[in-house]
């Protein structure tokens, strides 16, 4: 890209594959693999935010869970801050884990109902005693609560005493406890009411600015992803089909799926803009257990031709365009502009 070599990315994922076993009816033997993630590559620079969008079954959450170590990668590499996570010994993994944290979707399920807020946040320091010494737990918990916009005097309360938005703030405080460099937000604002969602989005932006955090922001809501991301990657059936800067992707989508996805998002003020033609694609996302041959999107694509059934389109740049995994990306670019 530029002439001087850029600093290495904070997180670099290459050809990541994650699969789940599929069992037979009679003897419950493993008879095959469901490819939840079928070869995914991306980079996140320090302090950057990559938005990962996709519908259910796209594998976006599995990507997150594999990076954080909740699922095992079948192949591929995950390099975080210079360490290869897929082959790291357990002891070193614990050290690396500190730098890599996650915010979960469900603010009701992600907090242990039997623990106080202080216990939930300080658990991180019990596991990693070198981060904060025991006598500092109380003070640090209060600092963190203040930082995420909660009353520090509520440290002794239990999760059920908070509202959904407040609980999500507790989850954020827990993720920050180990002073991470990268935070994975897996649908972190999806379960919240719109009015509260905006509060949490603003908080995430403030934290990025103040702490220099990088985010892998996973969501199905395109406007939320656009709002928070520097770069955006679109996933479909276990693969990234298009990736570009936020600005590029939302103004000049190349992949037919991205175009359909953007077109499907309802506009709250449609009368403000010139009438746009809505693309409504038929059918559903195919099952990852039985994906179509060739291009995964071809069964719902209006551009699909013979070749799409045979060749998996690669995620590469065509002409001067940003990467899109479609045989007809150049054609579609012309049509879109």
């Amino acid at each position: 890209m530029s002439t001087e070599s850029p600093p290495p990315p904070l997180l670099s994922v290459r050809d990541l594959q994650t699969s789940f076993p599929m069992r037979s009816a009679v003897l419950r033997r493993t008879v095959g693999q469901i490819q939840a993630v079928a070869g995914v590559s991306f980079d996140i620079p320090a302090g950057g935010t990559l938005g990962l969008v996709g519908e259910s079954g796209s594998g976006k959450s599995t990507v997150a869970r594999t990076i954080i170590g909740l699922e095992e990668a079948r192949s591929g590499s995950i390099v975080f801050d210079g360490d290869e996570l897929t082959s790291l010994p357990k002891a070193s993994m614990r050290r690396v884990r500190r730098q890599l944290q996650m915010i979960f979707q469900d603010p009701y399920a992600s907090l242990n109902p039997r623990a106080t807020v202080e216990q939930i946040i300080a658990e991180a320091w019990q596991i990693h005693p070198d981060v904060v010494p025991r006598n500092r737990h109380r003070a640090e918990v209060r600092d963190l609560l203040e930082r995420v916009g909660l009353n520090p005097d509520h440290a002794e309360r239990y999760p059920h005493q908070f509202s959904g938005g407040q609980r999500q703030r507790i989850g954020i405080a827990r993720a920050l406890a180990l002073r991470p460099k990268l935070v994975i937000c897996d649908e972190a604002v999806s379960a919240l009411d719109v009015s509260v969602q905006a509060q949490v989005l603003n908080l995430l932006e403030d934290l990025r600015r103040d702490l220099g955090l990088a985010y892998l922001f996973i969501a199905h809501d395109l406007s939320v992803v656009r709002h928070i991301s520097d770069r955006v990657a679109v996933m479909y059936l276990g693969r990234i089909v298009e990736t570009a800067s936020q600005d590029e992707l939302f103004t000049r989508p190349l992949h037919p799926y991205t175009q359909a996805l953007l077109s499907a998002v309802p506009d709250p003020k449609p009368w403000d803009k010139p009438a746009r033609e809505q693309i409504i694609i038929g059918g559903d996302v195919p099952s990852p257990a039985d994906p179509p041959s060739g291009c995964g999107f071809r069964t719902r694509c209006w551009k699909a031709e013979e070749t799409c059934a045979h060749d998996v389109p690669e995620l590469t740049t065509r002409l001067e365009l940003h990467p899109a995994a479609c045989h007809f990306a150049t054609e579609l670019a012309g049509a879109a502009s």
């Binding site: 959904g164 905006a198 953007l262 449609p270 694609i281 059918g283 719902r300």
Partner: protein
């Protein structure tokens, strides 16, 4: 012509924490052939309102304690049972849990004809097949004998819609019909609903929390907060000239899909706790315009200054909202 008229509806629920007024004096009308959006976040009472219209408020915890609902001149609070399914139909949020897992979908649709019209098994089956084709289920004849769990989310919602349409109701209430679905499928279902509404000429009440979903679809908007109607009017009027601070706050909370990426201006505070509502205006603790008047008197719906008479908001200080935002 007004088809459905809700007046001062009150619905209470007994919870272990005390009695909660889920709907607190809501009034609105739905005209024949009209599409109305009932908007609100969690705890607004929008779904309970729909349950009250159909007479299916979960008993014994919940009960209608006041007000009236009339449908085509008939009192729904007493006559809902005879009209359910025939005149008024409903589609729910989660199509998987809303379909009976142990019966084939063809039988579940056909049941409408068998139980209401006394159709034979064969007639019901044929009618179910027609409906499934009409709502766009591919290979419908093969899928009649499938079970709900064998369908995708979007297809299940189509089954629900087919079932609701079976007896050509004049009013269809759709409670968050696309919330559980993916964006591309949501577009399909909204498209289907609007198409069917036009074909049937029925009234459609769309209940949702998503300002965008109803934007291109609904004629009118009824916005609810903490069990009360806080703003109502034509959709464009309400969206462009919000007269209630809650409405304008919601609009400012949604990130845009185009234009500049400005910092969001969220509504402060948390959604209302129905067990501990403040005096006067329920929105008061989250409102920048709130003053003593708001604590003393509960605002009623009234016409907004210099706006059409149909555009009403329940706020003591709509002028401030109108000038600040626009």
């Amino acid at each position: 012509m007004v088809l459905l008229s809700v007046r001062d509806l009150r619905v209470e629920f007994a919870t272990s924490g005390g009695v909660v007024t889920a709907v607190d004096g809501a009034s609105f009308d739905v005209g024949a052939g009209e599409t109305v959006a009932l908007l609100g976040e969690s705890g607004s009472g929008k779904s309970v309102t729909a349950q009250a219209i159909l007479g299916i408020v979960p008993k014994p915890a919940g009960r209608v304690t006041g007000g009236s609902i009339s449908y085509d001149g008939r009192d729904l609070l007493t006559a809902a049972k005879g009209l359910r399914g025939r005149e008024i139909a409903m589609v729910f949020q989660d199509p998987l849990s809303s379909l009976n897992p142990v019966f084939r979908v063809g039988a579940q649709i056909g049941e409408m004809f068998r139980r209401h019209r006394g159709a034979s098994r064969r007639e019901a089956r044929a009618a179910a097949l027609d409906l499934m084709k009409r709502v766009g289920i591919p290979a419908a004849s093969k899928r009649l004998d499938d079970y709900p769990h064998q369908f995708s989310g979007g297809m299940r919602q189509r089954v629900m819609i087919a079932m609701a349409l079976a007896l050509s109701p004049r009013l269809l209430i759709a409670d968050e019909p696309t919330t559980a679905l993916d964006v591309t499928v949501q577009a399909q279902i909204m498209d289907l609903l609007t198409r069917l509404q036009a074909e049937e000429g029925m009234s459609l009440v769309l209940i949702t929390h998503d300002l965008g979903v109803v934007a291109g679809v609904a004629d009118r908007v009824i916005l609810m907060y903490a069990g009360r109607v806080v703003e109502t009017g034509s959709l464009r009027e309400v969206y462009e000239h919000s007269g209630h601070p809650y409405t304008s706050g919601l609009m400012a909370s949604v990130p845009a899909l185009d234009g500049p990426r400005d910092r969001l201006v969220p509504i402060q505070g948390a959604p209302p706790d129905l067990l501990a509502l403040p005096s006067g205006c329920s929105f008061r603790p989250r409102c920048q315009y709130a003053d003593e008047q708001c604590a003393e008197a509960e605002p009623v719906l009234r016409q907004l200054p210099d706006r059409p008479s149909t555009h009403q908001a329940a706020c003591h200080h709509p002028e401030g909202v109108l000038t600040d935002v626009h």
